[in-house]
Symmetry: C2
Subunit: 198 residues, 2 copies
């Protein structure tokens, strides 16, 4: 209805966010219109655009960063011969919070999913193979879901070579769960109890 066209217009944008339906989007839009100050809204809008403009993928590991090389790849304090392979940047953050791992990462940008038409070629896998010189261990930390398992098996197969330990993050990861929502204790155990595959 025309009385709230401007709420409708703003809601449409909020509806693009994950898990946000029409009702929630309208609630957000009313909050912007009624409760927030113009200064708050302008700062919010500016940050949206700044974030989007600054963000890129680390040219080494593929995680989101606002620099060419992410702070983890660039750090001199990390163990350089260990790479943990994860689905996305949120997984890196979850692992980092455990303070249990000090190696490098490789961010795939997704999982192999035949049903969604996502094949290995769509993921950041080529660049992983090119990083393996001098690496002693690759820890595959994909979730215990069908796509996570498929991806792990595929990776194990293609990166297998003499002198390289390929392990899977293991103990404690609940079935069907996304890594980013797992509590820190469980993640710590999962890292400690990783299972060496060869």
């Amino acid at each position: 209805m025309s009385e709230i066209k401007f709420i409708d217009k703003l809601s449409k944008h909020f509806e693009k966010l994950p898990g946000v339906g029409k009702k929630t989007a309208e609630r957000y839009a009313y909050h912007i219109a009624e409760k927030m100050t113009i200064d708050e809204v302008e700062a919010f809008a500016k940050e949206l655009v700044t974030t989007k403009k600054d963000v890129k993928h680390c040219k080494v590991c593929g995680m989101l960063t606002d620099q060419e090389t992410c702070p983890i790849c660039a750090s001199s304090y990390r163990t350089k011969d260990q790479i943990m392979v994860v689905r996305d940047t949120k997984d890196v953050i979850a692992i980092e919070k455990t303070n249990q791992y000090n190696g490098l990462y490789h961010v795939l940008g997704g999982l192999i999913s035949p049903l969604d038409g996502i094949s290995p070629d769509d993921l950041n896998i080529d660049s992983l193979e090119k990083r393996l010189d001098g690496i002693k261990e690759v820890i595959i930390a994909t979730s215990f879901t069908p796509n996570g398992e498929t991806t792990a098996l595929y990776l194990e197969k293609i990166i297998k070579k003499d002198g390289l330990v390929v392990s899977r993050i293991g103990y404690g990861l609940p079935a069907g769960g996304d890594i980013e929502y797992v509590d820190e204790l469980t993640l710590r155990r999962a890292i400690d109890a990783r299972k060496i595959n060869n």
Copy 2:
């Protein structure tokens, strides 16, 4: 952690929205950074500021609008001698969706709430009293909550006068519920079965 400072910064803004905690805010921020195009984000940011700048309260009824007088008050097709009193603009929208009411509105901007320190002086009540000339019926449509009841009783007392019918929206409104979330059928019944108080 420094690796995701830009996500943290953007999340802080999302956390100001109603019902959005840290996890949800981060999810939104990652979605902005990873999934949306720069064009989408820029359009979103622009709409936020435009909405906030354009929005004001109708000088007659107090509802949110982008004009001096809202389209309902300005319409020549509405019944001009009937005013429905509601808490906020979202309630107007919910009532309008029923197509069951064709009078005017008055938006209080809240409910009387002694516990939160909200007194009648904090609400848009003075201007209601000034609108009563020529009005035949005032329908009080506040929710069945302690604050809604308090507000309704207060309004009934102060606007009572000869020749003015004061009614309460009634039948069907579930106790404790916010009007904006009630289904349209229930709202229609509630409007039809309103109870005349004097």
